[in-house]
């Protein structure tokens, strides 16, 4: 009788699996309007168990020194995985970092990370946050020791990697199974580009798109809305943060930062490497009237970008078509 009921339960759960197989299988999908990615999971085979573990680690606040901060505290899904309302990142012991938290999506197409491009591999990009006294304030040995002694982690590592051994590599690879899967490519803009189910721009959005192509896309290049280069857009005469030159040691890189993506820009305020602007109006006013003649200012900006009121509304309307609500609200990526 007992056997029978177990068998029955098994059969039932089997059936359940079959009802929602689409939702359960984690995949990394490349939108048809995107090029092929830089990170392709070759040395880090994507599995449901790996993703599940990575996501759990991403939202695990007990990894930080005072057990209050997880990756997800600074990288919040509803804000495109940046930190809402924080000019600069806010970590353990109420410490303020020096830079604005970048959003996390489409990372598999990035070849360098951070505002200055100092980090070269997505797998190693969480290390700085983990060890920075102002972010999570701990070290990876402590994290590994914690995970070894805390259920259900040994089991989850076993499911993800075939043995319950826990080490730095496995921690980083599983987190990457979460972060690299985050793809945002279902905004209205994408659907218009892919000519999906009759999606079209309104006349204001279309006017904005044309203005954008004329004035912005030399740096904020489609389809990622960044060309991944490092540039100075004239925020200050003398930048307080060295930016790219901190990495290259070359003075012509002083005050340059990676051109940020503009996808989901509606939700990723505040803006710029130090989070100085809270609204898109402030950003556009900067390009219109406040570009400073910094020594390394990008030549394309030496006269600013003049925009009248109507043009600003059009550009903003277009920028809002870059919002991908399917991504922002996808419960697959949410804290359980």
């Amino acid at each position: 009788m007992l056997f029978l009921s177990i068998a029955l339960m098994y059969a039932c759960s089997k059936n359940e699996d079959k009802i929602v197989p689409e939702e359960l299988k984690i995949t990394f999908s490349v939108p048809s309007n995107f090029p092929s990615p830089a990170y392709n999971f070759e040395d880090n085979k994507l599995t449901n168990a790996g993703f599940t573990l990575g996501k759990k680690l991403f939202y695990e606040a007990r990894l930080s020194a005072d057990k209050s901060v997880s990756c997800g505290s600074c990288h919040q899904q509803f804000a495109g995985f940046t930190q809402l309302d924080h000019r600069v990142s806010h970590g353990v012991n109420n410490c303020q970092g020096k830079r604005n938290t970048p959003p996390l999506f489409n990372l598999a197409w990035q070849k360098a990370f951070f505002w200055d491009g100092g980090v070269k591999n997505i797998e190693t990009s969480p290390l700085n946050a983990i060890t920075d006294a102002c972010e999570m304030g701990t070290d990876i040995e402590t994290i590994v020791a914690f995970l070894k002694n805390t259920a259900p982690y040994p089991n989850l590592f076993n499911e993800a990697f075939g043995s319950s051994e826990i080490n730095t590599q496995r921690v980083l690879k599983s987190i990457t199974q979460f972060t690299a899967v985050l793809v945002s490519g279902n905004s209205k803009y994408d659907k218009v580009m892919r000519k999906e189910s009759g999606a079209t721009f309104s006349s204001v959005e279309l006017a904005g798109y044309n203005l954008f192509k004329e004035k912005c896309s030399s740096c904020h290049t489609e389809p990622f809305f960044t060309d991944f280069s490092y540039r100075n857009n004239g925020l200050d005469l003398v930048s307080a943060d060295e930016g790219r030159s901190h990495i290259t040691g070359v003075s012509t890189d002083f005050g340059k930062f990676r051109v940020p993506t503009l996808r989901n820009i509606e939700y990723t305020s505040p803006y710029m490497h130090d989070g100085r602007f809270y609204s898109l109006d402030e950003v556009l006013e900067h390009y219109n009237s406040s570009v400073k003649a910094a020594p390394n200012l990008d030549v394309r900006l030496k006269n600013g970008i003049k925009l009248n009121d109507a043009e600003r509304e059009q550009i903003k309307a277009f920028l809002k078509t870059l919002t991908d609500n399917e991504f922002i609200k996808n419960t697959l990526y949410s804290e359980a």
Binding site: D43, N44, F114, G118, V119, K120, N121, I122, E123, T124, L127, N128, I130, T131, D132, D139, I140, E141, V144, N167, T168, Q169, V171, L172, K173, T176, H246, I247, T248, G249
Partner: protein, 256 residues
């Protein structure tokens, strides 16, 4: 049908060839064995003792050492006939505070007489930018920069009364693989042909190297701690790497 016939015709000789090669191997008895490399840390001829001993640089300035760690990687052995064997996945971190790190064992080395050894002081370009690594390259070893991807190839920390830094600290973290500040250096030395590295199934030779931590501060440029006491990559790291490129390692002898 046609295609598969062609395929078969194509595959047959390959199968045949590979089977031939197998046989050859058995005849020449391609055996493998083991050897060890021992790194004896010194400072200008004196034993390196962390934290307590005082040494002098070429400028006559006193210094003490608290941390001395370095990578030896991509070890290559050459025979007199020019054949080279690159030891796969050879990445080692030698740490003066861990005596068991000072002797490394290399396994699965084709037997024979080797007359040259060569290795990277540090970590090759590709691994600096690769994904998460383990063992010697595990970031927990404190030899990985988290804000500027890449490994610290040689890490030296200590103190000198001449240092103008806080607490008279000396901080020399040498690394970086991008021009113009590339600090990858290779060490290579010929082995006396009269006493080559003889790897045999019944013999596990030991190569004994002297490592001179003092070589960071002299060789090409004599460094004064009053002007250079801190570097983490960049132009000053290149000055230090150019110093140690020749003086850091010396093959002292081989026990065959």
């Amino acid at each position: 049908m046609k295609l598969s016939q062609y395929l078969l015709a194509f595959l047959c000789p390959i199968i045949f060839l590979t089977s031939c090669k197998k046989n050859d191997d058995e005849i020449t008895a391609d055996t493998k064995s083991t050897f060890t490399m021992e790194f004896e840390n010194q400072v200008n001829g004196n034993p390196l003792v962390l934290n307590t001993n005082t040494y002098k640089n070429a400028k006559g300035e006193d210094f003490k050492i608290n941390i001395f760690k370095y990578y030896v990687s991509n070890i290559k052995l050459s025979k007199a006939d020019g054949t080279v064997f690159l030891i796969p996945e050879s990445y080692f971190l030698i740490d003066a505070s861990k005596s068991d790190s000072e002797e490394i064992t290399l396994k699965d080395i084709p037997t024979g007489d080797y007359t040259k050894v060569e290795y990277t002081i540090g970590v090759d370009y590709a691994r600096n930018f690769a994904g998460a690594q383990t063992e010697a390259l595990d970031p927990t070893n404190g030899m990985f920069w988290t804000w500027n991807s890449g490994y610290i190839f040689v890490k030296f920390e200590g103190t000198s009364p001449q240092s103008t830094a806080t607490n008279n600290a000396l901080t020399f973290h040498i690394g970086g693989v991008l021009d113009p500040n590339n600090t990858i250096r290779t060490f290579s030395t010929d082995i006396n042909v009269a006493n080559p590295l003889r790897i045999r199934t019944d013999k596990k030779p030991d190569m004994h190297f002297i490592v001179n931590a003092g070589a960071l501060f002299t060789g090409k440029t004599d460094i004064s701690f009053s002007t250079l006491n801190f570097t983490m990559g960049g132009a000053n790291s290149v000055i230090v790497a150019n110093n140690y490129a020749n003086g850091l390692f010396r093959l002292d002898h081989i026990h065959n």
